[in-house]
């Protein structure tokens, strides 16, 4: 049954994005806000806003019972979780089901299975999706050498019980594998009480690619092309583009098929993204994980497909099924998105909440801005510091870069420091323009220089 009144269980730009998508479908909206957000752009645009609780996310946006109670009591028959917050917590769709509310996302059991890294890997493997070549448990230095020789160097030794980078060693040859095992295993034994190790192929200059998926929950899954999100700082994406220009058409077709096979194997419902590590040198890709929600960077896929993914999400949740077939998804041109955060580059990108005193946003051919900000708007200190996403589309990558840089130059934000300057430095960097970057490029090449040239 089509959704008549949608509850938006999120904040910031994505809440506004969902409200707009619902309004385009003539669906009423109720936006959940915390005490810090009751004047937000989404709250103003929605038919109604309800205050869940205090500013603290734990007592507002992150409380699933509170959220579903509010949805039910405000008469909503659908709920969109956005990204972050509760979007990948199985309890949210479960509570929605209990109370007759259509959840705009995957089924709870699928969210749970994909949220468990080991289960997700097993599911990917069963669906024939390539995983990073790796070993079973390794118990000795000799084992480490043998497995390293088989997998191919460099390899990464990891503690089976580990996490957070502890007990991790990179080995470039058999000798290093043996010595590395002794050291890392002892370290793991001391830290976790378990010296068991395993090994994976290490890709020093990998790219991050991901496939946008949309499933009807009955086994039919479409892809909307792939994205390349290799510009990262501390595993946070800063720039995302579509398509991945560094990939051959042949490999791209394999990538899309892998992603669809995996999602179809669990009768995936609604929007999701399969993430992969792309080894450019070997021209291979390996499964990382599935994000069972709409992602921050979905606009680049919309720009190259001329398709509104959030509207499709809402329609599917209302029981409509997929509105198009794979042949109807025609990808054209190139799109690049940069995330603009209220962060101070001079203070190691510390979040810098505050009030926007000037906001002159760029417009122009191929330019899109997804933002909840305006002159006088407040960035509260309780949540993430993203103020918007600037997206440029062009007939090819060069034109998209040109338009993006032009838009960055036209963008004036005052009142808080932002990452616009860094985004400009990235978008105009010769490596970025030549597209020879990888996931550690920003940290290794750009950031050490950034700010010094200007000083």
């Amino acid at each position: 049954m089509a959704i008549k009144r949608l509850f938006v269980a999120n904040r910031g730009e994505i809440a506004l994005r969902v409200v707009k998508a619902a309004q385009a479908l003539n669906i009423e909206t109720v936006v959940a806000v915390s005490d810090a957000d009751w004047e937000s752009a989404a709250a103003k645009m929605a038919d109604r806003a309800v205050v869940l609780g205090p500013a603290s996310a734990a007592k507002s946006y992150l409380d699933p019972r509170l959220v579903v109670h509010a949805a039910r009591e405000s008469g909503c028959d659908g709920l969109h979780p956005g990204y972050g917050f509760l979007s990948e917590r199985a309890i949210l769709p479960r509570l929605c089901e209990d109370h007759g509310i259509a959840f705009v996302g995957p089924r709870p059991d699928v969210i749970e299975a994909l949220g468990d890294k080991l289960q997700a890997r097993a599911m990917a493997s069963a669906a024939g999706v390539p995983l990073v070549p790796g070993s079973e448990n390794i118990a000795s230095g000799a084992d480490a050498r043998r497995e390293g020789d088989r997998i191919g160097y460099p390899v990464l030794l990891k503690a089976a019980a580990g996490g957070g980078g502890r007990g991790m060693v990179i080995a470039n040859n058999g000798d290093e594998a043996e010595a590395g095992f002794q050291r890392a295993s002892a370290e793991a034994e001391a830290a976790f009480g378990d010296g068991t190790m395993f090994m994976e192929r290490f890709v020093p200059e990998a790219r991050h690619v991901e496939v946008q998926l949309m499933g009807d929950g009955q086994g039919k899954v479409l892809h909307f092309g792939e994205r390349d999100c290799s510009v990262q700082r501390r595993y946070q994406k800063l720039i995302e583009e579509a398509p991945c220009a560094a990939m051959s058409d042949e490999l791209r077709a394999k990538l899309h098929k892998s992603a669809i096979d995996l999602a179809a194997s669990v009768n995936y419902r609604n929007a999701g993204t399969a993430e992969f590590l792309f080894d450019v040198q070997r021209q291979e890709f390996y499964f990382i994980e599935v994000n069972a929600r709409i992602q921050v960077e979905h606009p680049v896929s919309e720009m190259i497909s001329s398709f509104d993914l959030v509207q499709e999400q809402i329609r599917i949740a209302g029981g409509a099924g997929l509105s198009v077939g794979q042949d109807d998804v025609v990808l054209s041109g190139h799109a690049i998105e940069c995330r603009i955060n209220a962060e101070d580059a001079a203070r190691d990108f510390a979040p810098s909440p505050g009030r926007i005193t000037r906001w002159d946003a760029p417009t122009g051919e191929g330019i899109r801005l997804d933002s909840h900000m305006a002159e006088g708007a407040m960035i509260p200190p309780f949540y993430d510091s993203m103020v918007g996403k600037l997206i440029a589309h062009g007939k090819d990558r060069a034109e998209a870069i040109d338009r993006l840089v032009g838009a960055i130059d036209d963008f004036v934000i005052e009142g808080v420091p932002t990452t616009l300057g860094l985004q400009r430095a990235i978008a105009t960097h010769p490596d970025f323009v030549a597209n020879t970057i990888h996931t550690r490029w920003l940290e290794q090449v750009v950031l050490p220089q950034f700010g010094k040239d200007a000083a």
């Binding site: 915390s34 004047e39 929605a46 038919d47 309800v50 205050v51 869940l52 609780g53 509170l66 109670h69």
Partner: protein, 161 residues
């Protein structure tokens, strides 16, 4: 405070600030400056917790933007002069009685001690008791029994002793 301890301290400060009933807290210490405020405007604007409640759940959503926050004096108008509001700590269903059919916790005109139970706020069968922060007399019950209330919405007006 040591830099490394700052995030945790900040979180603590924010929590304490939210609990305290203070409207603003301004700390300056060397390079470090912090302004915590419930007012979403320049200092001394109206407190967010005094904003008007949105339409009750029985009403259909209306296609209009919520009104701009009224100035402080106007908000106080909702309450009998000289009374303090008891507000909902979070969104939920408002119950005046401990269980269906039972007498309400308090009636208009009743005297209450500080800490007296005034009502329940229910979220998915989880009940939170709301208590009076002052000793005084209940002058008004501002919400219908079993209505959905939002965080910060005024529930009772109490005239302190």
């Amino acid at each position: 405070m040591a830099d490394s301890a700052l995030p945790e301290n900040l979180r603590y400060l924010i929590e304490e600030f939210n609990r305290s009933g203070l409207r603003e807290l301004h700390i300056r210490r060397g390079d470090f400056e912090l302004l915590l405020s419930h007012t979403d405007h320049a200092p001394s604007a109206p407190a967010a917790s005094r904003r008007p409640a949105s339409p009750s759940p029985q009403q259909a959503p209306q296609a209009q933007a919520p009104a701009a926050p009224p100035p402080a004096e106007q908000i106080a108008d909702g309450l009998p002069e000289g009374t303090v509001a008891v507000v909902a700590p979070n969104l939920g269903t408002f119950y005046r009685s401990p269980k269906p059919g039972a007498a309400p916790y308090v009636e208009v005109g009743q005297r209450v001690e500080q800490g007296a139970e005034l009502c329940l706020i229910e979220v998915m069968k989880l009940f939170t008791t709301v208590r009076s922060e002052v000793s005084g007399t209940v002058e008004a019950v501002l919400v219908e029994d079993t209505a959905m209330v939002e965080a910060g919405q005024a529930l009772f007006a109490v005239r302190a002793d």
